[in-house]
């Protein structure tokens, strides 16, 4: 957690910052650490990190491997233009109108059984090579789309629905508008969920939000966290603490690892001060254990894939030893405080976000010493895991036990084309929550 991060209040993009990069209407969302001279790649669009430094976070246009700040007004104008031609073409072309199952109301044009499914590649006259050539020559995405529409043999015979879909698909593919945003928990949650739901235990952004609310995380709280969600829960808790309180994080090995969601939030020292990593070994032993080997700890950090650490390991050995010592002392101090929170009745909430570890096993270790009136929130992708937890907790003094599942569906809201998305990611888990009470 010793990453030096720029203060999160800065409003300009700085070297070393983690940033979220996504194309307008794109499907991906990447979390990238912008180091100098880096090539940033997003859905086949490329630009150098340097061109973003010193600019405010927001909308950019990419051209010639550079990104340039762009005003939102222009984007909105373009989007309106993109929708417009579809409607105009319609009114002008009788061929298209007759294709639309002779609907008298030209505004409503979706005929699910009237859509022909033909391979598109065949009907596109503009070759892939030509597109690449145009791009090399610096032709804008907008223009490429216009050319593609011209070149499509089938375009004029499509229904308006598929025409609009076609333009959108093409526009998406060739768009050179990019958002470069400062990471938020919400954006991180979405990016990892879409990229690798398995490693995130299928935790969806809406469920993460529910976990935080049921656990009552806010400024000043002491929260115990055992999670297997890439640090997402830990990071979200830390943000909500706002520099006061404690986020005790139980981790494998000598140092907290596999928590990219903590690193990429660019937290300042104040926020990082609430992060209290505790080795599972110590939790199992019920007390703090000495470090076995300093050198080993340093190597283990590499598992994290955190490049700064690696670099530091290769630095001057003496400096390193001093630094490592300071780091270890800090780590031991945080761990000592974390264990105190855990075992001395000072924790106001316990959050378990488990993927492979049986939460009951965690409960057995930390439940007895939770403060009375503490909230317990357990997330699992498997309902039966939570049924076991329910059985365990209901035999202890836990009240207000609630098991919920929730569906989160995105709506397409467009004039005369409003409906829930036809397909979306639905993987997710379940949340069990309760409150610990005592007899006296």
């Amino acid at each position: 957690m010793e990453v030096e991060s720029p203060p999160s209040t800065t409003s300009l993009i700085q070297a070393g910052e983690y940033l979220i990069v996504q194309k307008i209407d794109g499907e991906q969302s990447r979390i990238v650490r912008f180091t100098p001279k880096q090539k940033i790649l997003i859905e086949k669009l490329k630009f150098t990190s340097d061109s973003a430094f010193g600019k405010p976070h927001g909308l950019f246009e990419v051209s010639n491997n550079q990104c340039f700040p762009m005003s939102v007004d222009r984007l909105i104008e373009e989007l309106q233009l993109q929708e417009a031609p579809v409607a105009t073409t319609l009114l002008d072309s009788e061929v298209v109108l007759s294709e639309i199952v002779e609907a008298s109301d030209p505004r409503v044009v979706i005929a699910p059984s009237a859509l022909k499914l033909e391979p598109e590649q065949k009907r596109q006259k503009l070759e892939m090579d030509a597109v690449l050539e145009m791009k090399k020559q610096g032709v804008s995405g907008q223009e490429v789309v216009a050319k593609l529409v011209e070149g499509s043999a089938s375009f004029q015979t499509r229904t308006v629905f598929s025409q609009s879909k076609y333009i959108k698909r093409k526009a998406k593919k060739h768009s050179d508008r990019v958002l470069i945003l400062r990471p938020t928990i919400r954006l991180l949650a979405k990016a990892y969920y879409l990229k690798d739901p398995d490693r995130l235990a299928m935790l969806r952004a809406d469920q993460l939000a529910l976990i935080l609310q049921m656990a009552g995380v806010h400024h000043g709280k002491n929260v115990l966290v055992f999670e297997q969600t890439l640090g997402l829960i830990t990071s979200a808790v830390m943000e909500r603490l706002g520099g006061k309180g404690a986020c005790v994080h139980f981790h494998r090995g000598a140092v907290a690892q596999s928590i990219p969601c903590v690193h990429s939030m660019n937290y300042n020292e104040s926020t990082l001060s609430t992060f209290l990593p505790v080795r599972i070994k110590c939790l199992l032993a019920g007390k703090q254990l000495p470090y076995e080997n300093n050198r080993k700890a340093c190597n283990e950090e590499e598992e994290n894939g955190d490049k700064i650490k690696e670099v530091k390991c290769e630095e001057n050995v003496e400096d390193q030893d001093l630094e490592a010592l300071a780091r270890r002392n800090d780590r031991l101090d945080r761990e000592r405080r974390g264990l105190e929170m855990t075992f001395e009745g000072k924790a106001h909430a316990l959050i378990i976000g488990s993927r492979t570890v049986d939460p009951v096993n965690v409960l057995e270790l930390v439940y007895p010493t939770l403060a009375p009136s503490a909230s317990i929130v357990i997330y699992s992708p498997h309902q039966n895991t939570l049924v076991s937890c329910y059985d365990w907790l209901s035999k202890r003094q836990t009240i207000n036990l609630v098991l919920t599942d929730q569906m989160c569906r995105v709506m397409q809201v467009l004039p005369d084309r409003t409906h829930p998305l036809m397909a979306q990611h639905v993987a997710g888990g379940h949340v069990l929550s309760g409150i610990k009470v005592v007899d006296q």
């Binding site: 002779e102 609907a103 005369d416 639905v426 993987a427």
Partner: protein, 309 residues
């Protein structure tokens, strides 16, 4: 109760496969090929070649060896046909088909009008349900679709219970008037067809109307049109199926996790060499695939009561 009709049919129940039968060749989950069995022909698929001669005379549901693997030869059903039919348009899937049949109160003897025909997924489901004494009238504006489905109905022994008509029901109404028990609409502007649907339904018996639309604006206009045409008990519902997969779940203790990490059991086998406890794994259902259809369309259904004399 074993039947022996002379003609091949989706409704027939011979124990063994005959020439002319439509079989569903089950290659893998998600890959099924419908084929009409004909001597001299050969089916080519993922697991190599399979000569039709080899299929004839075999039991339905039997495993057969192709040149590079084996397949199962399944009896056609409405669901298997929906999952394997040659697609000419977007189709209605089994969950929607099932509910539409129920909302139409479809049963043997029912007279049902459908528009459009599309790829004939629902058409087959309806025809199989109203047989042997009911009838399906299916309408489409595209002649290639109606002629294709007629051909399929012939091959599938459903000709006697089906009629396919090239017609725009929104402007010209349905082929039958004052005789249908149910009307199903899957058209871009259902509100234009609703007055015709009312005319098509038997005045004496009354009947049911079901309209499928992806967008809410279509539903809103359709509801108004239904009410204006005298339909009652108008209700719009949406079906969102969720598919699950059964997986082996491994519950670790914190100690195990600390020792070996969160590696999944199969990886563990290599690590711990035979020490994996099988009993720590339980079968459990998870939502899979992660991305699934979350909307097909809204189903609006309504009743037209018999008219008082």
């Amino acid at each position: 109760m074993t039947l022996a009709p002379t003609e091949p049919s989706f409704l027939a129940y011979n124990e063994r496969i005959q020439e002319g039968d439509t079989v569903i060749v089950y290659v893998t989950y998600g890959q099924m090929v419908p084929t009409v069995v004909k001597r001299g022909q050969t089916l080519m698929m993922k697991y190599g070649a399979l000569r039709h001669e080899f299929i004839i005379g075999k039991k339905w549901g039997q495993r057969l060896s192709a040149t590079a693997g084996y397949v199962y030869i399944l009896r056609p059903s409405s669901d298997l046909w929906t999952r394997s039919l040659p697609r000419r348009t977007q189709i209605l899937y089994t969950a929607d088909c099932a509910l539409i049949l129920s909302l139409l109160d479809a049963k043997p003897g029912s007279v049902i009008c459908e528009s459009g025909t599309g790829s004939g997924s629902l058409s087959h489901a309806i025809a199989l349900t109203v047989a042997p004494n009911g009838h399906l009238y299916t309408h489409d504006i595209d002649e290639t679709r109606t002629s294709k489905v007629l051909e399929e109905f012939k091959t599938h022994g459903l000709s006697s219970v089906t009629t396919a008509v090239v017609r725009n029901v929104c402007t010209s109404g349905f082929h039958v008037e004052n005789d249908a028990d149910g009307v199903f609409l899957d058209v871009p502007a259902p509100w234009e067809a609703i007055q015709f649907a009312a005319k098509s339904i038997s005045r004496k018996r009354g009947g049911r109307l079901v309209s499928f639309s992806p967008c809410l604006e279509q539903v809103q206009r359709a509801c108004l049109a239904m009410s204006a045409a005298g339909f009652i008990s108008i209700e719009t519902i949406e079906l969102v199926p969720e598919q699950k997969k059964i997986v082996n779940q491994h519950r670790q203790t914190l100690e195990e996790f600390e020792e070996i990490g969160d590696a999944y059991p199969k990886e563990r086998k290599r690590n711990a060499e035979g020490e994996v406890k099988e009993d720590s794994r339980v079968s459990t259902a998870i939502v899979f695939p992660y991305s699934q259809p979350t909307h097909t369309g809204y189903l609006t259904h309504a009743t037209l009561l018999p008219v008082l004399e």
